[in-house]
Every structure is written in C-alpha cells, then in structure tokens.
C-alpha cells in the first residue's frame, strides 16, 4: 500500500503541475464565480436557482471530466515517454500498483476539487437565497420544489399483454395484418398504442392510475402530483381538468380542479391526510373541457408523485458523490488508455469511448430493431453482415448500458431524490466492476508491454 500511495502522490503532483490541467482549473474557477453572475434566468426565483445549480454543476463536471481525461492519459503515457517509468519498473513495483497509484492520484485530485467546488456552489446558492432577500412564500416554494429531496414515484405499469393479444387475434381474423410483417412487430405496435391510450383523456372521459409509495410519507410535508401535459388544442389555450385522489368509493376523496396551459409541466399538492395511511394511491384525471379536445400525458414521465424524503444538503452531497464516482470511472478509462497507448492516441480513444457511452441508448435501439444495414429483406434477419453488425451493436449496448443513468444535474435542479442506492450502484457498477475490469485487462497487457523500446 505504501508503494501505491507514493505513486499516487507523484501522480497528483504531476497532474497539478500539468499546464492543461492548470488552465482547466482556471476555467473551473471562472465557471463557479463568473457563470452565476452572467447567465440570465427566466425571471423567477426557481429559474434563477435552477440555472445556478445546473450551469455551475454542469461546468464543473465537464471541466473536471476533460481534466481527468487529460491527466489520466498523461499519467503513464508521459512517464513512458520521459522514461521516469523505466526507473520505477526496475524497483519491486507490480504494474498493477502503478495503475492503482495513478488512478488513486487522480481520485484525490478530483475529490479535493469537488469538495472545493461543492462548497463554493452551495455558498453561492445560499447567497442568492439568503434570509431577507426572499418573501416567505418564495422561501416556502423554494423549499418545497427545488431545495429539497423528493422521491419520484411513477404510476404502476399497465399490463397490456392480454388486451393486445386479443386485438391482434381480431385483426388476424379480419385479415388486417399486413403480409410479410412479423407478428412480434404488430403486437409491439398494438401494445404501444394501448399504453399511449392509457395516458390520453378525451373530453368527458376519466383515466385512472395507481401509484405505490415505497413508504408512508412522514411529517407534514405534502405529496406533490407533477404532470406533464399536452393537448390537441392549439398552443396557448387553457385546459380544464379535475384531479381526484383517493379510492373511487371513498368519501374522503380529494378533488382538485385545475386550469393549465395546454403545454408544460404543472403540479398540484396533495395533503398527506388524503392518503389515508395507505401506500397505494389512486389518482384519476377527468377532462371537463367544454369543447372537444384530448389531453395527453407523456407515458414515460408524464405523471409522478413527488414524496418528501430529505433535505437538499443531503441530496447535494449525494449528488457530488455520484459525480465523483462517475469521474472515478472516467479516470480508470483514461489511465488504462494512457498505460497502453501514447498520449494523443490515448486521449482520442478515451474521448471515443465516452462518445459511445453517450450514444449508447441509440445504439441499443438500433440493435433491437430488426432492420437491415445492407438492404436485405426487413425482418428476415438480413445478410450475414447484418447479423454480425447487429451482434456488435448488441454487445456494445450491453457493455455500455450499465454505464448510463439519469442526470445528476436534472435531479438536483428538480429537487428529486438522489438515493444512497444510486450512490451504491455507481460505486459497485462503475468503480468496483467496470474500473476493476479495466484495471485487470490493462495490467494483463501492461505486463506484456516492453517499456523501454527505442521507439518509445
């Protein structure tokens, strides 16, 4: 361990002295101090706080990511080039210890900087919302909507398998299924349209959803129903609706009448008493518009119950921890690339892998589609090349998928809970599993690498 820490300390000192890293750190300072002063919000207090959080944290994580990639790639690659590593590897040091030392050095750099940035951002946030600058109502709204940690509970998924099968059977009986189109595709399309229909409410109709809370809300903090609405009416028109919370047969059912803009995200507050001590919450929406129009909710995240879970400080700390663990994975990737390749190549390869992770969702969709790349008949599996390419895409998406996840910035700015489970997932998957596999693979190849070739 002593050897690893010695190498880590050298990696940290080298990174701090790197010109590129120093420039990036200057930008970091500028982002924390300068951005909140220059960026204009939508004029609301919530908008100002959200912009402050989103912009500064986005700038910090982007700059730290770039600095991590550069310093990580340079950590070993530069030492091979300048031959300091020749000397180190003649000492009783395992090559995995070199990798670990460099990685830990970067972790220390990122950890220290994140603590400083986190404190600076929090101080900026406090300054903008300090007592005396806001009205009591503004303070309350801020505390309930943004500077809070609320768990997002989505409606229970609808089981559309049986109705979809039934519709398919009827279509087949009528001969309405197009010839040559695979049955699975038709069934998937029917299921999609059924799910969409479950979130569409025409005038004079009601729709019902069930939410299951992980635990009963405690304290006096209300539960908030957040909904993302769209309508068939022209933009700018208002939409009348009625929310009904509680079982249909209950006398204590809460009714909340709303008039909303036809596009946008809205919320209504549900008193804790309306839940009647039950973790299962039934919510109905009635379309009571005088003119015919359909109200549509996004099936993905158009409806959610937001339940108070904790304070903003705790959420903020967990958010910073998640960013730190994501940077730890990035550092592992960069150190691995720099261990096996020379500097410009290593940085480019790391950038390419990061890009692959970013577009992983699209790749996943491509791999699931049964289309062809080389012009073969759709749905038949295509040519051999199609199958190989599809396998490559599937493999890529399978490897990359666990690395994807929701945006910490979006969660913090939206007052959504960043749970310890999320932190644990990042730790186990990105650091223990992925960084561990990278360390093992890199060490395997590094052990076989001749470090003192005349060309190096």
């Amino acid at each position: 361990m002593r050897r690893i820490l010695a190498i880590a300390s050298i990696a940290l000192r080298t990174a701090v002295r790197s010109r590129v890293v120093v420039i990036l750190l200057g930008l970091l300072l500028l982002a924390i101090v300068g951005l909140p002063a220059t960026v204009k919000s939508d004029g609301t207090l919530a908008g100002r706080v959200q912009i402050l959080l989103t912009y500064t944290l986005a700038a910090v994580s982007t700059i730290l990511s770039v600095a991590t990639v550069w310093a990580g790639c340079a950590a070993v690659a530069t030492e091979v080039q300048e031959k300091q590593l020749h000397l180190i590897l003649t000492k009783p040091v395992r090559r995995v210890e070199v990798w670990l030392g460099k990685w830990l050095g970067l972790l220390a750099l990122n950890g220290g900087l994140l603590v400083v940035c986190g404190v600076a951002i929090y101080a900026g946030l406090w300054w903008h919302t300090r007592p005396g600058t806001l009205t009591a109502e503004e303070q309350r709204r801020l505390g309930e909507e943004i500077l809070v940690a609320r768990r997002e509970v989505l409606p229970e998924p609808l089981d559309v398998t049986a109705p979809a099968q039934q519709i398919l059977a009827e279509q087949q009986k009528r001969g309405a299924v197009p010839a040559g189109r695979p049955v699975e595709q038709v069934l998937a399309a029917i299921q999609d349209s059924l799910r969409q229909a479950a979130f569409t409410v025409p005038t004079g109709y009601k729709r019902m959803w069930t939410f299951k809370l992980p635990a009963l809300p405690t304290g006096e903090q209300p539960v908030v129903l957040r909904y993302k609405l769209a309508s068939s009416q022209i933009a700018g028109a208002l939409v009348d609706g009625l929310w009904l919370v509680g079982p249909a047969d209950s006398a204590e059912r809460v009714e909340i009448r709303v008039t909303n803009a036809a596009q946008g995200v809205h919320s209504v507050t549900i008193p804790v008493a309306a839940l009647r001590g039950s973790r299962e919450v039934v919510v109905e929406y009635a379309n009571i518009n005088p003119v015919p129009l359909a109200v549509l909710f996004d099936p993905q995240d158009g409806l959610a119950l937001l339940v108070f879970e904790g304070t903003f400080v705790g959420n903020f700390v967990r958010g910073i921890l998640v960013v730190f663990l994501q940077l730890a994975f990035l550092a592992a990737l960069a150190v691995s690339a720099g261990t096996l390749m020379s500097l410009p190549v290593a940085a480019l390869v790391t950038g390419y892998v990061v890009l692959l992770i970013q577009v992983g969702e699209h790749v996943q969709r491509l791999s699931q589609e049964r289309g062809t790349f080389m012009g073969g008949t759709q749905g038949t599996g295509g040519t051999m090349l199609d199958q190989v390419l599809r396998f490559v895409l599937w493999l890529e998406s399978a490897v990359v998928q666990p690395l994807q996840g929701p945006s910490v910035l979006e969660y913090l700015a939206g007052g959504k809970l960043i749970s310890w489970g999320w932190v644990g997932w990042e730790l186990v998957i990105k650091v223990a599993l992925y960084a561990g596999v990278l360390a093992a693979l890199t060490t395997f190849f590094f052990n076989r690498r001749e470090i003192a070739l005349p060309t190096q």
Binding site: I10, R13, L87, K91, P92, E450, I451, A452
Partner: protein, 306 residues
C-alpha cells in the same frame, strides 16, 4: 560492457532489468526471471540519463524511491541522510532536481540506485556528465560495493574508467560478444616486462642501464612515471575546496554511506591487496583499522601470494 554505439549494451542492460524481453533465449537474474518483482528488491539501476521528477527535491526523490522498496520511515530517513552525505548534496536536500546541473542530477540518480543496498548494481554510463572528482567517487563506490561481494555490471564508453574498476570485460559489437575475459587476460602483453624503481643514484642507474643494454643488445626505454591527470585534478580541487568554504554545487563527500560500507574483514582484505592503478581519494566511512592491523593483513596477503 564495452562497445560502440548501437552495439547492444543498453539493450542487454534493459533485458537484465526486465524492461525489454529477449526475442530468443533465456535470461535469469539472481536465479529468477528479470520480471520477477521480489528479485527487483535486490537490484539497483542507474540509467544513462537521470530520469527523475524535476519538481521533487533531492530529499523527496530519494524518499520516493526508498518508499518503493517498502522501507519504513526511520530506515528511509537514515539511509537518505547517509546517501546525501555520500554524494555531497546534503546542503542541496531541499533544492529541486530541475535546478541541478547534469552532474548533480547524476549523483541523485546514483543515490536512488543504492537506497535498497542492492546485491546487483546495474550502471549504464555511470560517469557520464560527472566531473573527474565525481567519476573518482563513483569508481571508489564501485570498488567498495565489489568489496562487499556485490555484483556491479556497467556499460561505458570511457575505457579508462572501465580499466580502473572492472574485473571482467565484454566487448560487444552488433549484439554479439566479440571479446570476454578478465583485464589481465585481455590486456597483458606477453614477451615484455616493465620495471619501476625508486629513485637511484646516477652511478647506480648507469650500472643498471649498462647491464640492461648488454642483455637487450639495444638502448632500454627510460623515463619518469607521471601522475595521471585525474589524480592531479582531484588534488587541485581538494586544495581549492579547503580554501573556499561555500559552493552552490557539489559539496565534499563524507565517504561511502555507512550501510553500504564493507565490513571490517572485507576492508582488511581490500587494504591488503596490491596497490591498484590509482589510489582511493576518499576513504570509505568504515570501522577504524589500526596501522598494525593493516600491516598484518598486508603481510598475510603477501605470504599467500608468495
């Protein structure tokens, strides 16, 4: 190891150190593969250039390399003190390596190779960049290490240095050993003798020359032996150093680090050996040896030789 540029000296050393892999054949160092990590704890390496971290001070540099050998804090501190003393850079312990001259950096490079008290020391051009005083110290150190039973492998272009300190020499060309043997085997000129005499009275000298003339049938070559330039240079610098108290460069060496110095028995053996080509300028910091012990050891050695 001697050889012109590109003959394979550094490549061989790097294979011994596990930094390069042989394309064919098998290589063992201290009975193990050169890539065996525990074996590396017994090796010290001085590369042809000082591949050090420029922003570390000399003390931090030695501390870093000592840590890689897992030495505890107290031991590290003690060895670093002795090594800084030995290389004459105790006064520059807080100066960064980037501020050092090439020679000073070489000394740090040499010290880092000895921090683990190695059994095998690999030196690639060890005297490159050093002034004659530094060269002499390195050669003394090599002799001291050899006296402790350590193996020292070095490659050099400086033939005089090699001749001074090496027991065996390999001359490489194009990756092949062209000549291999002890100095005596390789350099002895058969059929010729050299006689060195103390100063003789002119009449006695004429008698000796007449006798030799008669035996040889021609005039013998007679001249005065010269001090070598290195010896002369060292004497001049030592004199200047005694007269000047301060210097930003290399300070006077306090002798070989105590933990590297030979045991008393080894030293006696060394002292009893016939005088070499050049006398040691800097006596190693070793246990006191009385004049009587020295004479007795020399007598015993002489008896053995006779």
């Amino acid at each position: 190891m001697l050889g012109p540029n590109g003959s394979g000296k550094s490549t061989t050393l790097k294979m011994i150190l596990g930094l390069l892999h042989p394309t064919s054949g098998n290589l063992e160092v201290l009975g193990r593969s050169p890539r065996d990590v525990p074996t590396k704890a017994r090796i010290g390496y001085v590369p042809e250039e000082s591949y050090l971290y420029p922003y570390l001070t000399s003390e931090e540099t030695l501390n870093f390399y000592a840590t890689l050998f897992d030495l505890n804090t107290a031991e590290r501190k003690e060895r670093i003190e002795q090594l800084l003393d030995m290389i004459g850079l105790k006064h520059a312990r807080r100066r960064r390596v980037s501020e050092f001259s090439k020679g000073m950096a070489r000394r740090i490079g040499l010290a880092q190779a000895l921090v683990n008290d190695p059994d095998l020391v690999v030196l690639d051009e060890p005297t490159s960049g050093l002034d004659p005083l530094g060269c002499r110290q390195v050669k003394d150190l090599i002799e001291t290490l050899a006296a402790r039973g350590k193996t020292v492998v070095l490659s050099s272009h400086l033939l005089a240095d090699v001749e001074d300190v090496c027991d065996r020499v390999a001359i490489l060309y194009n990756g092949q050993i062209q000549a291999l043997g002890t100095m005596q085997e390789l350099l002895e000129v058969n059929g010729r003798y050299r006689v060195t005499l103390p100063e003789l009275a002119p009449a006695a000298l004429q008698q000796v020359l007449a006798k030799l003339r008669e035996e040889l049938g021609r005039e013998p070559e007679v001249d005065h032996p010269r001090r070598d330039l290195e010896q002369f240079f060292i004497e001049v610098v030592e004199q200047a150093r005694r007269e000047t108290r301060e210097s930003s460069g290399v300070g006077p060496s306090q002798g070989v680090a105590e933990y590297l110095a030979p045991a008393k028995e080894q030293l006696l053996e060394q002292l009893a050996a016939p005088a070499g080509a050049a006398g040691a300028v800097t006596p190693p910091a070793v246990p006191e040896v009385s004049e009587e012990e020295r004479r007795r050891a020399a007598d015993e050695k002489l008896k053995k030789l006779l």
